[in-house]
């Protein structure tokens, strides 16, 4: 079926969207949600498993207390109420990567509920209401081998790795987010981005979207402007970058509008997002009729966190992100405009980490928001995943400060770092990027340049120091950029004084 996509400007003129975001956060606990197996990324397939997470007959779950603690801290950070008493429930459905053919989750008694997160887009604040945050276990991971699509249909065979089965997840569900249509994609992106930063600050997850430790499902529906009820939604699963969240919302808005404009009705279904094309395609059909037959998990006792414990955990929360942002802007001396760019790029935590390594805030800002953001955009990845760490940025700037390299050479050092050529010092060594620190070769180059352009020397002697620029340019060219321009200028002026 060919989809008719309506241009975004036309969509926003006719329709109002309702967004709903479900974000799964993989916790970084040492062990799994209900057993003692290590909960770490990677590992040979099916080596981090036991009778419980394999769903062997007779095995039983035991709740990971650390995961409950993380869930409560996430709930508190999202301004949620924390349940005084809640239970786990079984979500029953058959799938080969589900060891028990039910997922132990929470249903009508989530650990945290009724919260909010303020997100900022282009200087404007939107409050996203959080319906609930609940605890559950991850499934195993299926790999479909053969076939063109990598999906189960058409595959020759499938492999299942149960290492991931039972890893603790927190699912954070928003209430419908009703924002001006033109803002919807950016608000969706900003929400997931700020949520990720919050999770990072809490230290409860690696929060790596590229590794799936944060996964977003994007629910979207459109209704004609002014309509008093919401339209039918689609659910786009496992969108795994901030950029993809924004693109998925945009694409679904255009797709829904195409269907609605043609007088059709949107099918309530699960859709898959394709990173390469920025489009979605139909997944398994999911309707309201799908019945998970939830009931309380009889093998687990209720979770009843004491109020004292909850308050104790409240005391461990990191600084409120909004307050922190204001504080850092003040400390770093960033203008409002600079801060807006920093924020939009998701660079604040990276700048903070770079400054913590001893770099001046403006230098850190310059590298992240100018140089590295451009590279991230070119590569289509998040800034945090550009391939350079805050420690490396600090090292590079320290080398610039020591005049070992200049800004221009620093860019080549970043090339080397991203290409995995080793440390900054190793890249400089291998690529021969160090500035010429000896005056001898510089003076020789200056003499050559002055000899080639005798009239310039006269101008400089006559007091026109700006004319030195032409000599500096020639020297830089002769040294293939590896000269400290300020030093060259000093030497020229000394010589002609």
């Amino acid at each position: 079926m060919t989809e008719v996509l309506v241009p975004f400007d036309e969509v926003i003129a006719k329709y109002d969207p309702a967004l709903g975001l479900e974000v799964h956060v993989e916790l970084n606990t040492n062990t799994k949600m209900f057993c003692g197996c290590p909960a770490v990324f990677g590992g040979e397939p099916n080596t981090q498993v036991c009778p419980t997470c394999l769903g062997l007959p007779g095995a039983m779950p035991v709740v990971n207390g650390k995961a409950v603690e993380s869930a409560i801290r996430i709930g508190l950070a999202l301004n949620c109420s924390i349940a005084e008493w809640c239970r786990f429930a079984r979500k029953n459905y058959f799938y080969p990567d589900m060891p028990k053919n039910f997922q132990t989750s929470q249903y009508d008694e989530p650990i945290a509920f009724d919260g909010w997160l303020d997100v900022e887009v282009e200087g404007e604040t939107f409050r996203v209401e959080i319906e609930r945050a609940h605890m559950e276990e991850d499934t195993g991971k299926s790999t479909h081998v053969g076939g063109a699509t990598g999906r189960i249909h058409g595959a020759d065979y499938s492999l299942v790795d149960y290492n991931r089965a039972g890893i603790p997840l927190i699912e954070i569900v928003t209430r419908p987010i009703l924002v001006p249509a033109e803002k919807a994609p950016a608000v969706a992106r900003a929400y997931v981005g700020q949520l990720r930063d919050l999770i990072l600050a809490l230290g409860v997850s690696d929060a790596r979207m590229d590794q799936g430790s944060i996964r977003a499902d994007v629910n979207l529906s459109l209704a004609p402007k002014g309509a008093d009820k919401l339209g039918t939604r689609s659910e786009t699963k496992n969108v795994n970058s901030l950029r993809s969240v924004e693109r998925a919302v945009r694409f679904e808005m255009s797709r829904h509008a195409g269907i609605l404009d043609a007088g059709g009705s949107v099918l309530q279904e699960t859709r898959h997002f394709h990173e390469d094309t920025g489009t979605t395609s139909s997944g398994r059909e999911k309707s309201d009729a799908e019945d998970y037959r939830y009931f309380p998990e009889p093998d687990l006792v209720p979770v009843a966190p004491s109020r004292e414990w909850v308050e104790e955990l409240r005391g461990t929360l990191p600084e409120n992100p909004t307050q922190k942002r204001a504080r850092l802007q003040e400390e770093y001396g960033f203008s409002d405009l600079e801060m807006r760019d920093v924020w939009a790029a998701g660079a604040l935590p990276l700048i903070e980490a770079t400054v913590a390594e001893g770099t001046a805030p403006q230098s850190a800002r310059k590298w992240w928001v100018a140089e590295l953001l451009r590279r991230a955009n070119d590569a289509g990845v998040e800034l945090a995943e550009v391939g350079v760490t805050p420690q490396q940025v600090a090292e590079v700037q320290a080398l610039v400060d020591a005049k070992t390299i200049n800004d221009k050479l620093a860019r080549q050092v970043f090339d080397g770092l991203i290409a995995g050529e080793g440390t900054a010092a190793e890249v400089i060594e291998k690529r021969g990027l160090a500035l010429v620190s000896d005056d001898g070769p510089l003076i020789a180059a200056i003499d050559d340049a002055l000899a080639a352009q005798p009239d310039i020397a006269e101008k400089i002697r006559g007091g026109n120091h700006a004319a030195a620029g032409a000599v500096i340019g020639a020297v830089m060219k002769a040294t293939r950029g590896q000269a400290d321009a300020a030093r060259v200028r000093e030497l020229i002026l000394e010589k002609l004084a």
Binding site: L56, P57, N92
Partner: protein, 508 residues
């Protein structure tokens, strides 16, 4: 046949301690008995699905070596035991009486199995049961029925007919059973043996392949009350792997049994449950029950009639909660990781393999309960069925609580009838379900219960069980009352009830 098989576990323990016999002798005697009378699906008692002669003898030899070195791990070290096939045993097949688990050998031990191994009890083998513990006759085993040693044309009760028959036929002095709605107590009643369902949470369920998680409990199956007390103390206690297990000290059961055996029940208040009698209750069962109640009075107990009005709804409640839980529990049997795998013709999808496997691997009773449970949990029906059943369950617990304000223990016949002929109720599930009328309330409320032999019914000469129920965590009362009844009746009969059972010949 060696006289060793006639000994109780407590007597064997004393003999082993005194050096009068060895564990290898005792174990071999039971293996010989199994070889002589157990037969197979076609004939014989057929209490065992798997006999581990080599393993049991090796464990027995280790036990003897310990004794020789002056060590003993437990009073029952060296006394052999049979294990219901619903408990995971590392290295031994565990089928739950189902084709779908045929050939599955668990890589781990259930906590209770780990405990009996650590205590040095040789494991004779795995006992037959209704498929996934669904049934009251052991006829729903995929591997053929167990036969009642009292009359091999009759059922041994269920689901734990294998464990009860093994003990009744002197194939094992001790066995482990599980009781979800009466699967330890009802087989005990119809085979003239003792069976105990402990307080919910009193014994770890880790490694028990769940029928209904909120109802299941592991318990002892023996020929005497004292033996049950010994075994219960061994297997009981908190298990960090089972969060529903209760963290309270276990003990006092053996002491209570010894105290009860003195025959003094003065000061004990006994309530006779009014609702567990009437139409459909076999006259011979009611006669033995009335005699036993009279006996309690003779021993000094104060007996009153107690009404528990919601018990009449226990059956309906149970048959919603149990299928709901089991429909979800049994979903894991999907051919993906272990057990049976049936691959249909052509190039089937994973879903088609799951369907074909479950169709071939599950028996009718299992399918029936999966369907009932799936329906009861369905959107739109949940409140009317599962939700409502949970409310009634609460009311049943309140009836127990109210009754236990006035009395120390409650009593009833264990089962409405004696052992019925094989095949009699196979086409009538409701009639089969009624076997558990008197035992189900205890599971719904989590309270403990025991069944002890009360004699033989006049009309058929088959054993009748007497059930005693106590408040949660007051399991010691079961042993006190049970031992008092046992001592008085044994004295009246001039010996244990099983002395009256027919001598078993070999199956061929």
């Amino acid at each position: 046949m060696s006289e060793l098989i006639r000994k109780t576990a407590a007597e064997l323990a004393d003999m082993l301690a005194a050096g009068e016999t060895t564990s290898v002798e005792v174990t071999q005697a039971h293996l010989d008995r199994i070889a002589a009378v157990d037969g197979d699906a076609e004939a014989g008692v057929h209490a065992f699905l798997h006999v581990d002669a080599d393993g049991a003898l090796a464990q027995a030899a280790e036990s003897d070596a310990r004794r020789a070195a002056g060590e003993s791990r437990h009073l029952l070290d060296g006394v052999p035991i049979a294990v219901k096939d619903v408990l995971a045993t590392q290295g031994l097949p565990t089928t739950c009486g189902s084709r779908i688990l045929e050939g599955w050998v668990p890589p781990y031990d259930a906590t209770v199995v780990g405990k009996i191994k650590a205590a040095g009890l040789p494991i004779l083998g795995k006992t037959n049961m209704d498929e996934f513990a669904m049934g009251s006759s052991t006829e729903h085993s995929a591997y053929g029925p167990t036969r009642n040693p009292w009359d091999q044309t009759r059922i041994p009760g269920g689901s734990g007919g294998g464990s009860a028959a093994a003990v009744a036929a002197f194939e094992a002095p001790l066995a482990l059973g599980t009781d979800t709605g009466g699967s330890i107590r009802q087989p005990g009643a119809v085979t003239g043996t003792v069976g105990v369902k402990p307080t919910y949470g009193g014994v770890s369920r880790y490694g028990l392949v769940a029928l209904a998680n909120s109802l299941d409990q592991v318990g002892p199956v023996t020929r005497t009350v004292l033996d049950s007390a010994l075994l219960h103390e061994l297997i009981g206690g908190h298990d960090p792997l089972d969060s529903t297990s209760v963290d309270v000290p276990v003990g006092g059961f053996v002491e209570a049994a010894r105290q009860g055996a003195t025959g003094d029940l003065s000061g004990l208040k006994v309530g006779v449950i009014k609702e567990l009698a009437g139409d459909g209750w076999q006259p011979g069962v009611m006669e033995r029950f009335a005699e036993t109640v009279a006996l309690l009075k003779d021993l000094g107990a104060e007996v009153t009639e107690v009404s528990c009005p919601t018990f009449v709804h226990a059956m309906a409640t149970y048959y919603l909660i149990l299928p709901a839980e089991c429909s979800s529990n049994l979903a894991k049997f999907d051919a993906m990781r272990y057990g049976l795998r049936v691959v249909p013709e052509g190039d089937p999808s994973a879903e088609a393999v799951m369907k074909a496997t479950r169709d071939a691997g599950f028996g009718d009773e299992v399918k029936r309960r999966i369907m009932i449970g799936t329906y009861a949990l369905s959107s739109g029906y949940y409140d009317a069925y599962y939700g409502q059943a949970q409310k009634v369950r609460t009311l049943i617990s309140r009836d127990f609580a109210a009754a236990f304000e006035d009395v120390d223990v409650l009593v009833s016949p264990t089962s409405p009838t004696t052992a019925f002929p094989l095949g009699d109720k196979l086409d009538d599930p409701l009639a089969m379900y009624l076997q558990d009328l008197a035992t189900i309330p205890a599971n719904l409320a989590g309270v403990p219960g025991i069944s002890v032999p009360a004699g033989l019914a006049d009309e058929d000469g088959l054993p009748v069980g007497f059930q005693v129920l106590a408040p949660a965590l007051a399991d010691d009362r079961l042993y006190r009352v049970g031992a008092a009844v046992e001592a008085a009746l044994t004295s009246r009969w001039g010996g244990p009830i099983l002395a009256q059972a027919p001598t078993l010949e070999g199956p061929r």
